[in-house]
């Protein structure tokens, strides 16, 4: 089997056009889409405008507002809730935030904070980006004050006899300690509470960057594997397939050799594209190397099996090219390679589950955006689905190849 791979790699490396189409063209496309969607690194981060309506007008809500406003990356515009909602309705803003009356009480009671993000449904993607970053920040602020509140309550409960002056003094010490802790934490950890980079264009591993790199990579990979898979039909046209079949090599090995070769090229292609995304778009590849390698391997496996399947079904190279263009473009459109699936209607989102693209892209989202670990069950689920797709398609390809091989010659 290795003999076939070495032979095919030698042929591949001698084909400069093939190398260009396999590696450089996807890089060009990723770059192009990256620039179009603004995921290139910018030297001056641009502040994101967030319209906030404070109906509560409590010290807590004002404090949260002040903390959000203190961020360089965020420009807070204060207004009334009616005015804010009108901005969304008119399309002037995609997302607004409302602190409802009673928000401070809800926080004090440890209940769900009375705050709401209102958004334009047509711009769900912006909501997704904003929501994730805001939640991290808000939970930091609210969580801290909730712990502080609980500490004070516990102290009062355990010391019911203490006089009010002494109690006030200790309360003041607890509050100061929380403030000092917060300051220390901010200094030591490079102000994690203030880092809301998801709200600006340059944030590492932004969903759009992951979308552009993963989406385009998988789409281009599908085009590449079809081309490589079609080399099986070139073998037929050049008479070498017949010569292979009269050799003592079992028929299965001819196809397995081709599968292995397509897998190797696919893995290389994805590796090159993610390395490119690391160097050019600062995608955080080094910290995600293990899950990334796993996802690259299973995505390459699923995609290459698709190419081999087409080659084993079609009778001529032109048939493969015709069918594949239609299928790859359709799968890429439905599966989220061209546009993210979450902006699609519900039924299209359901349809996307039947494509390799969807599972691959979601896997890369898990790694770079959702920050899931390699052992996370959700991540492993996608790995399993891609392996399942690959096995199924390869099994069908092998069956079809064995059935058609005599007709092929």
């Amino acid at each position: 089997m290795i003999k076939f791979v070495i032979k095919d790699l030698k042929i591949f490396l001698s084909d400069k056009k093939g190398i260009f189409l396999t590696f450089l063209l996807p890089i060009i496309l990723v770059t192009l889409f990256g620039v179009i969607f603004g995921v290139t690194k910018k030297r001056e981060p641009r502040a994101q405008v967030l319209v906030v309506a404070d109906e509560d007008q409590s010290p807590t809500s004002k404090n949260i507002m002040a903390q959000l406003d203190s961020l360089d990356e965020l420009e807070i515009i204060r207004t009334t809730s009616d005015s804010a909602k009108a901005m969304v309705v008119k399309g002037d803003e995609s997302v607004i935030m409302i602190f409802h009356k009673g928000m401070a009480d809800s926080i004090r009671m440890g209940a769900q904070p009375e705050m709401e993000l209102c958004y334009d449904e047509a711009k769900k993607m912006e909501l997704g980006m904003l929501q994730s970053a805001l939640m991290a920040k808000l939970m930091g602020i609210i969580g801290n004050s909730q712990i502080q509140r609980k500490t004070l309550l516990d102290f009062d409960k355990n010391n019911p006899q203490m006089d009010s002056q002494q109690r006030a003094k200790i309360h003041q010490q607890i509050i100061s300690q929380f403030a000092a802790d917060a300051d220390t934490k901010n200094t030591k950890e490079d102000k994690p509470y203030l880092k809301v980079s998801a709200l600006v264009a340059e944030k590492e591993n932004s969903p759009m960057l992951v979308q552009v790199v993963a989406g385009n990579s998988i789409m281009m990979l599908l085009f590449s594997v079809v081309g490589i898979g079609a080399s099986l039909l070139e073998e037929k046209q050049e008479g070498t397939l017949k010569k292979l079949l009269v050799s003592p090599i079992p028929v299965n090995q001819i196809l397995f050799g081709k599968m292995l070769y397509v897998n190797i090229i696919s893995i290389l292609q994805l590796c090159v594209l993610f390395l490119y995304a690391y160097f050019v778009f600062k995608l955080n590849v080094p910290e995600k190397i293990l899950p990334l390698l796993l996802m690259i391997i299973v995505t390459a496996f699923a995609c290459s099996s698709f190419g081999v399947l087409l080659a084993s079904i079609a009778k001529t190279k032109s048939q493969v090219q015709g069918i594949s263009t239609l299928i790859v473009i359709t799968m890429s459109a439905i599966g989220g390679s061209m546009i993210p699936t979450f902006v699609m209607p519900a039924f299209m989102q359901t349809m996307s589950h039947f494509t390799v693209n969807y599972w691959g892209i979601q896997g890369f989202y898990d790694i770079f955006w959702r920050n899931l670990q390699i052992t996370d069950i959700n991540f492993l689920g996608k790995v399993a689905v891609l392996i399942g797709i690959g096995c199924l398609l390869n099994f069908i390809a092998l069956t079809m190849f064995k059935r058609n091989v005599k007709q092929l010659v």
């Binding site: 003999k3 001698s14 070498t240 010569k243 292979l244 003592p248």
Partner: protein, 309 residues
């Protein structure tokens, strides 16, 4: 070395092979001759295990093709009609790949590749890509790739089609060398001179059947084809012509100065005819013997030219 019994093959309801039987002994050079569509390539495809026969038994090098196909494949080398090489690879890389399919140890394989390239006069171009080769050179590499594992039998399906005379002669020399070394051949060709030059046994196939089989001289007898003695005279009188016709009725006397005498035993008959001509006082200017060739035998046996489409 090869035994084929009652080989039948049907394509889309049409019987292409109708019970073919033949045997090839070790070291024999067997030519399978027939017009296009007669069943030559189908027979070779079945023997190469590329197609499956509907009926029949095949033994190659002592192995049953149905039950021991891998051992059979290991025993044969196949030179297909078309040039089956990777154009983007060099001759060396092509030979390395094709040889490796037959489990030849790499070191031995490399040594054999060097020897074979030398044999075919390609050593100097061994690192050049096949796409830069002439048709004749490609044919040579095509043949070389089939003998690297030192098969017991070599199937050659019209291996010299469309090549230059220089390459053809080189290939002929290599074929003769391999045959002398004891390699058994199954050879199909359209070129009569190739069959006459190499074949120790010929099977004439037509319409899916072997209609005649044997050495060239055996086929001549089977076809009952005569050789021709052509004699040119200075002048022939009417009386001499009448007496000559009486003496040798199997002749063509239509040309007044050049007569054709048909004979199945030309060496004995030539002397008799010359003596008679002297008796009749005829002045002989030129004598030429036209030997029977395979083309005429084939024509006699099948009623078709060998290259009929």
């Amino acid at each position: 070395m090869i035994q084929v019994h009652n080989l039948c093959k049907q394509y889309h309801g049409h019987l292409v092979l109708k019970g073919i039987d033949f045997t090839i002994q070790k070291g024999e050079f067997y030519g399978l001759l027939g017009p296009n569509g007669a069943g030559k390539t189908t027979t070779i495809s079945i023997l190469s295990n590329l197609l499956q026969a509907d009926e029949g038994d095949i033994q190659i090098a002592g192995f049953d093709l149905k039950k021991q196909s891998r051992a059979c494949k290991q025993s044969i080398g196949v030179v297909p009609q078309e040039i089956a090489l990777y154009e983007e690879l060099s001759a060396w890389d092509n030979l390395l790949f094709w040889g490796s399919l037959y489990d030849v140890p790499t070191k031995l394989l490399k040594s054999r590749i060097n020897e074979t390239l030398e044999l075919f006069g390609l050593t100097e171009r061994k690192q050049d890509k096949i796409k830069t080769y002439s048709g004749g050179m490609k044919r040579r590499v095509n043949i070389a790739s089939a003998i690297l594992h030192q098969p017991k039998v070599l199937f050659m399906d019209e291996p010299t089609v469309g090549i230059d005379p220089q390459s053809r002669n080189l290939i002929y020399e290599v074929i003769e060398k391999l045959h002398k070394e004891g390699l058994t051949f199954l050879y199909t060709t359209h070129y009569m001179e190739e069959a006459e030059r190499f074949c120790t046994k010929i099977g004439v196939i037509d319409d899916g059947k072997i209609i005649a089989e044997g050495s060239l001289s055996e086929l001549k007898k089977l076809g009952n084809v005569s050789e021709t003695i052509e004699i040119k005279f200075n002048e022939v009188s009417d009386l001499a012509l009448v007496k000559l016709k009486e003496f040798w009725p199997k002749g063509d006397y239509s040309n007044s100065q050049k007569f054709l005498f048909y004979s199945t035993e030309v060496h004995q008959d030539l002397a008799k005819i010359i003596l008679k001509c002297n008796d009749l006082g005829l002045d002989i200017l030129h004598i030429e013997i036209q030997k029977v060739n395979l083309e005429s035998v084939f024509l006699q046996l099948t009623g078709k030219q060998l290259r009929d489409a």
